[in-house]
């Protein structure tokens, strides 16, 4: 019999989720604890699995378009853009310049909306209640623009393969300009609330460090990678939809901890505003729909197209057998791959940091489980 004292510390297995408010959905994390210290984790996912890839194989190309909005539902427009670009690549067509420009504006607006929701909920997880109200208030303005543009706020179905269905509404440009002008001071305001706050710094600094090499090893992309000092953004590296025309910076930080990821995302919102401001002044005239037939029937072939979604690299690998339905449609979700690094990030940390790290990864379970 092993000699154990009354106050021996034994390992404890703790279930976090799936119904835990700070897992942002239905993520279950099994934690192995030694007191406060995390010895290891395991993620159980799949509670939200709807078989999106299988649905894709049973729908026509155009019919599948609304389903992609339901993966990363806080950044539905980015999903739609990636899917449309992938099918356009297979068809070997390009959206007309006007459509591309409007796509860029809406996608950047969606990036802001997504980051705002992240900031609000992340701050809420850490214990700062105020930012969530302000963030959702500003996000509401963005959602209103979506609603006016395409008739839905969240699952927008805004883009069509080959271009756009909806022309801009009257006053669209002015509303974007107003939003940009209104929004930049708001970001400063969030920073005023959080950046120097001692509790915020205490909870985030040096928590969940992921170095650049580890990021590459785990395939982690997006703000997490940039916070580790890798200056890589698909919008710059392999520009799509006319991103090469706009002048913007890729914000990076060096430490790769949770605080840096926060700074990177804040700066990204400012850069998104910059892109929108440039794009809205230069919306070209012209058609908004490219030359695609009524029935979309790509030739036999395959293509992998990826875009920089708010969470990282979002890829679509589409295999066509020449019929009206995709033969195979694979989605490479950024959250799924990023979540894999969770274990590395919190091993050896404290239980309370788990919440911070899950929040900083900015996962959306709809996208992980598909």
């Amino acid at each position: 019999m092993p000699d154990s004292t009354f106050l021996d510390s034994t390992e404890l297995v703790l279930n976090m989720g799936p119904q835990h408010p700070s897992t942002h959905g239905v993520l279950r994390i099994i934690l192995k604890l030694d007191g406060e210290k995390v010895l290891g984790t395991e993620c159980i996912i799949g509670y939200l699995h709807r078989g999106v890839e299988k649905i894709g194989e049973n729908r026509t190309y155009a019919q599948f378009n609304p389903y992609v909005d339901r993966m990363d539902y806080v950044a539905a427009i980015s999903n739609g853009l990636g899917y449309c670009l992938a099918v356009e690549k297979l068809l070997n067509v390009e959206a007309p310049p006007r459509a591309q420009c409007i796509r860029v504006i809406l996608t950047e607006l969606n990036r802001i909306a997504s980051h705002l929701l992240w900031l609000g909920t992340h701050a809420l997880d850490i214990g700062a209640i105020t930012p969530v109200f302000y963030c959702l208030r500003e996000r509401e303005e963005a959602l209103k623009i979506f609603e006016k543009y395409c008739g839905a706020r969240l699952t927008t179905h805004a883009f069509r393969i080959g271009g756009l269905l909806y022309e801009t509404y009257d006053g669209f440009e002015q509303e974007i300009r107003d939003f940009c002008a209104m929004f930049v001071p708001k970001v400063d305001e969030y920073e005023e609330l959080l950046t120097n706050n001692r509790i915020w710094i205490g909870r985030l600094k040096d928590v969940g460090i992921l170095s650049a090499d580890e990021c590459k090893e785990y395939g982690v992309t997006g703000p997490v990678l940039r916070a580790a000092g890798v200056k890589w953004d698909l919008r710059k590296a392999q520009p799509y939809s006319g991103y090469e025309k706009y002048d913007f910076e890729i914000p990076i930080r060096q430490n790769g901890d949770t605080y840096d990821r926060y700074i990177v995302r804040m700066e990204e919102m400012r850069q998104s505003v910059r892109i929108m401001q440039q794009a809205v002044e230069a919306i070209p005239e012209g058609p908004i729909m490219g030359k695609v037939g009524k029935v979309i029937k790509p030739p036999v072939g395959e293509a992998y197209v990826s875009i920089e979604a708010p969470k990282g690299e979002l890829g679509y690998y589409v295999v066509s057998d020449g019929s009206t339905q995709p033969y195979r449609l694979r989605v490479r979700p950024p959250s799924f791959v990023n979540l894999q690094a969770l274990d590395r990030m919190i091993r050896g940390g404290l239980v309370a940091d788990v919440v911070a790290v899950v929040g900083t990864l900015d996962i959306v379970l709809g996208e992980i489980d598909r």
């Binding site: 105020t130 609603e147 395409c150 008739g151 179905h157 909806y166 609330l193 959080l194 120097n196 706050n197």
Partner: protein
């Protein structure tokens, strides 16, 4: 040194409090008084479906072409028709639309060649039963009649 002073005088705290104080201004308050005040949704809003009727003669605009049913990813529209020998057209007999499975993507609306099917600005579609979500032709033509709450 500066950092130390900042810490002693709780600068970060007061900075934050000043932000919250500024946001007390009524201009920044954003609350929708929903049941009392109905929000105005956008013109292009994709809400409750409606089957339009011709205002002149009260006949339906639908020509029973079934395109909407084929366009729908969820295959939830069922159109039946019978051939009218007199006019050599198809007359619409029934039209069912299962709103419980609809994702309001608007593909059916785009597919309709005569603008008969339309997604309108109504958004209050809750029912007490599942069956109530399946709308028939009459319901589609009249539109939902939600209870209005006033206070």
């Amino acid at each position: 040194m500066r950092g130390l002073l900042n810490r002693i005088f709780l600068v970060d705290l007061f900075q934050g409090l000043w932000v919250t104080f500024r946001n007390q201004h009524p201009k920044y308050i954003y609350t929708e008084q929903y049941p009392a005040e109905r929000p105005k949704v956008a013109e292009r809003y994709r809400g409750a479906p409606r089957l339009n009727i011709n205002p002149d003669n009260g006949e339906t605009l639908c020509i029973s072409c079934n395109l909407c049913a084929l366009a729908c990813p969820e295959a939830l529209i069922v159109v039946t028709s019978e051939r009218n020998e007199a006019t050599k057209r198809k007359d619409l007999t029934t039209f069912t639309y299962d709103t419980s499975r609809c994702m309001f993507c608007g593909l059916c609306e785009d597919a309709c060649p005569v603008d008969a099917l339309e997604l309108t600005q109504d958004f209050e579609m809750a029912t007490y039963t599942r069956e109530g979500q399946i709308w028939d032709r009459q319901m589609l033509e009249e539109g939902p009649k939600p209870t209005q709450y006033k206070c």
